[in-house]
Amino acid sequence: MTALAPPPIRVAKSSNPTGGRSKPVVWMVLPALLMFTAFGLVPLLGVLGLSFTQWDGIGAINPAGLDSWKAVLSEPGLLHSLWVTFLVMALSWVFQTPLSLLIGVFLASHKRYRGFLAVLYFIPLLLSSAAIAITFSALLNPNFGLGAGLGVELLNQDWLGQGNLALGVLVFVVSWQFIPFHSLIYQGGVRQIPTSMYEAAQIDGAGKVRTFFSITLPQLKYTIITSSTLMVVGSLTFFDLIFVLTAGGPGDATRVLALEMYQTGFKANLMGPASVIAVILVLVGLGLALLLRRLGGGAATDSQLEGA
């Protein structure tokens, strides 16, 4: 949900306080505001309301007070899916961030073969999650997949049939899909760094590694925060790929919060408890987004280019 929020819009201070410039700017906020209200706030309030009711999705909606909240909070399923969600989030961050950072830096230089590689790296992003999930589950099929087909024993694991292994595969596939996107962000970030800094470092005799850690990385601070926010909040609502790849299985080993919500609401017809999970999902997402902003430290408008 949070990713839907429109970026804060700062109305430029007009030199003339009564000047006519502020009016059209306010008007320009309106479409985004309307969209956000209609598709963000109204459903959110609806779900909040539903969490205090008992409804099977078909019959009448009956008020049920805190019943759904009590039911969900006392269920071990919630804690488990929160934990799985956290694992997916943390592992995919740990896996994706260094790789996309390196690829982004690598692709940032203006060399022709790197431009070609950039196009290749970009391909996974063009595929739909469902297609990726179906392809990987076919490749990893223990009976007809890659391992069995090539006769390579190492590849012939029960990839999606064992809890920990399935979680690992999931993180891998997620990363495979989204590293190109984050590389793109880092590539853009690196290209924003003024060349004068690198030239100065070169004159001072700094090597490639030193330049990377002393200039590139600090300069990418806000890019890292942006990319991490997208990763972390995105992984909260991650659904389609997991649904097709493992359906939350084996057992409930990969059942993340979003999947738990779907199964409670649309499979078990318990819209009340499903809405509770949805509200929890929103709260966790908001909390994490705020936390990441805080971690960034300072105001986002601080200059990054001191000394440039």
Partner: protein, 468 residues
């Protein structure tokens, strides 16, 4: 993690919910929102996540008496359903059916949402049982008891056992249609021959074969564990053979702690014993039934046996090359368990499919639907099509001659005899129970096969959702 497109996934999840709530409360405002989006140009992306399926419910085109009818895709069923509807439309130019086909899983979601929003089609296709009961409880489907009383000929032409899942609290709410689908134990004759194995006559003999096949690198049983309901078929048959039909009937009737019957513990222990013995082959829990990978294991000789629905005969015939036509496929009813109370003639599965009439439809539409029940559903042409193209037994009495003339006569006779001779034709548990209890059941079954719950915990978990 979140690339630009995936932000659209999030509103989808939310929007499904919001549609349901806002339709209940204020349909006009929702429409306003929709037109706003369209104006903003983002409408296409949002609408793509599933609000507007084809055939907008009861308001669908045509004259006032045009009844809408949604059914499932997938050949050969889809073609047969469509041909039946087209024949009816040709014979009744003033009472037409407007039909739309949906993929199985998509349909299950779509129909639930549509009924909840008061946008149900006139004819509601389904599996009867617990799903139908939730529609009945919400007052969304017509009571057909009186209609069947007045049209005894329609009722008498169908298998009596098919009316079980259509009957809720002693009243009939749906017309049985299409085919009877008991669950069958299939086996690969060639694999049995190669391993020098004899067709097992009891559960114990079956288990004795597990090491025989395993040593040859063949999975004793093919099982698509990812789908969960596939695992459930093992529980259904084992419980019936061990404890007889009354054990599950007590659960179905909502008796307190009905799962605590010792037969249940025995059954669950046997299941986990099978898993521990490697009876289901490597990686069974990630095999998916949706791609028919489990059937492929059987017909490619990578598995020796498979417990599956009668409908898989047709798909194995289609996909398995010469496997079925050359007579390599064997079949039998689930064997008895030594010392068990169950009658080995009993069976489990789908006693039929069901057509209910939406109570929200207009009087004219209901009239058309009833006319379809009378003259369209399972007419002679459709019966022949199910037998010859579908390789299935329609829920109609007296089809022996049609069945005998079919190229699949042996199999069809077996299905017909199994269905007619079974004293108890139990409905699949997940269809018989309410959606809430069914989801808990499937969840716990998946965990049982993963050793994530012990038999005792399973019983405790399931007792909590009895009657819910």
């Amino acid at each position: 993690m979140a690339h630009p497109l995936s932000t659209f996934d999030r509103p989808c999840t939310w929007r499904l919910k919001s549609t349901e709530t806002s339709v209940e409360r204020s349909p006009i405002s929702r429409r306003t929102f929709l037109s706003l989006t369209a104006a903003a140009g983002a409408g296409a992306a949002l609408a793509a996540c599933g609000s507007s399926g084809p055939g907008g419910g009861s308001s669908g085109g045509g004259s006032a008496s045009t009844a809408s009818y949604w059914f499932l895709t997938g050949q050969p069923g889809e073609g047969i359903r469509q041909a039946a509807a087209e024949r009816f439309n040709k014979a009744n130019p003033n009472n037409k059916l407007q039909f739309t086909a949906f993929e199985n899983d998509a349909y299950k979601q779509k129909i639930k949402t549509a009924i909840g929003a008061g946008q149900a089609p006139t004819l509601i296709w389904g599996w009867g049982g617990g799903g139908l009961k939730s529609y009945v409880d919400a007052g969304q489907v017509e009571d057909l008891t009186d209609w069947f009383g007045q049209n005894a000929a329609v009722k008498d032409k169908l298998f009596p056992s098919s009316f079980g899942p259509a009957t809720i609290n002693g009243k009939i709410y749906a017309m049985p249609c299409e085919t009877v689908q008991p669950i069958i134990l299939y086996y690969n004759k060639k694999v049995f021959e190669q391993a020098g194995a004899k067709v097992p006559q009891s559960f114990e003999e079956m288990m004795a074969l597990v090491p025989t096949f395993k040593n040859k690198g063949i999975a004793p049983f093919s099982l698509a564990g990812k789908a969960r309901w596939t695992n459930m078929m093992w529980l259904e048959f084992l419980l019936d053979r061990i404890g007889g039909p009354d054990v599950f009937n007590a659960v179905f009737a909502g008796e307190k702690d009905a799962w605590s019957n010792p037969a249940v513990l025995d059954m669950l222990t046997k299941i986990q014993g099978m898993v521990a013995a490697g009876a289901f082959g490597k990686g069974f829990s990630s095999v998916d039934a949706a791609g028919n990978a489990d059937q492929a294991l059987l017909y490619t000789g990578k598995a020796a046996m498979m417990l599956h629905g009668g409908w898989t005969y047709g798909s194995m015939k289609n996909d398995g090359g010469k496997f079925v036509s050359s007579g390599q496929l064997g079949w039998m009813n689930f064997p008895p368990v030594e010392g068990g109370k169950g009658d080995p003639a009993d069976t489990v599965g789908n006693p039929g499919q069901y057509l209910a009439i939406s109570s929200k439809a207009s009087a004219e539409q209901k009239e058309t639907a009833k006319k379809f029940f009378q003259t369209g559903v399972l007419d002679q042409e459709e019966v022949k099509a199910w037998v010859n193209e579908g390789g299935s037994v329609p829920v109609v009495k007296g089809t022996e001659s049609v069945l005998a003339a079919s190229p699949d006569a042996d199999f069809l006779k077996f299905v017909y005899d199994t269905s007619v001779n079974a004293k108890v034709f139990a409905q699949s548990w997940d269809q018989a129970l309410s959606p809430t209890a069914a989801e808990a059941l499937l969840d716990n079954i998946a965990k049982l096969f993963q050793n994530q719950v012990s038999p005792q915990q399973w019983v405790t978990n399931m007792n909590q959702v009895i009657g819910k």
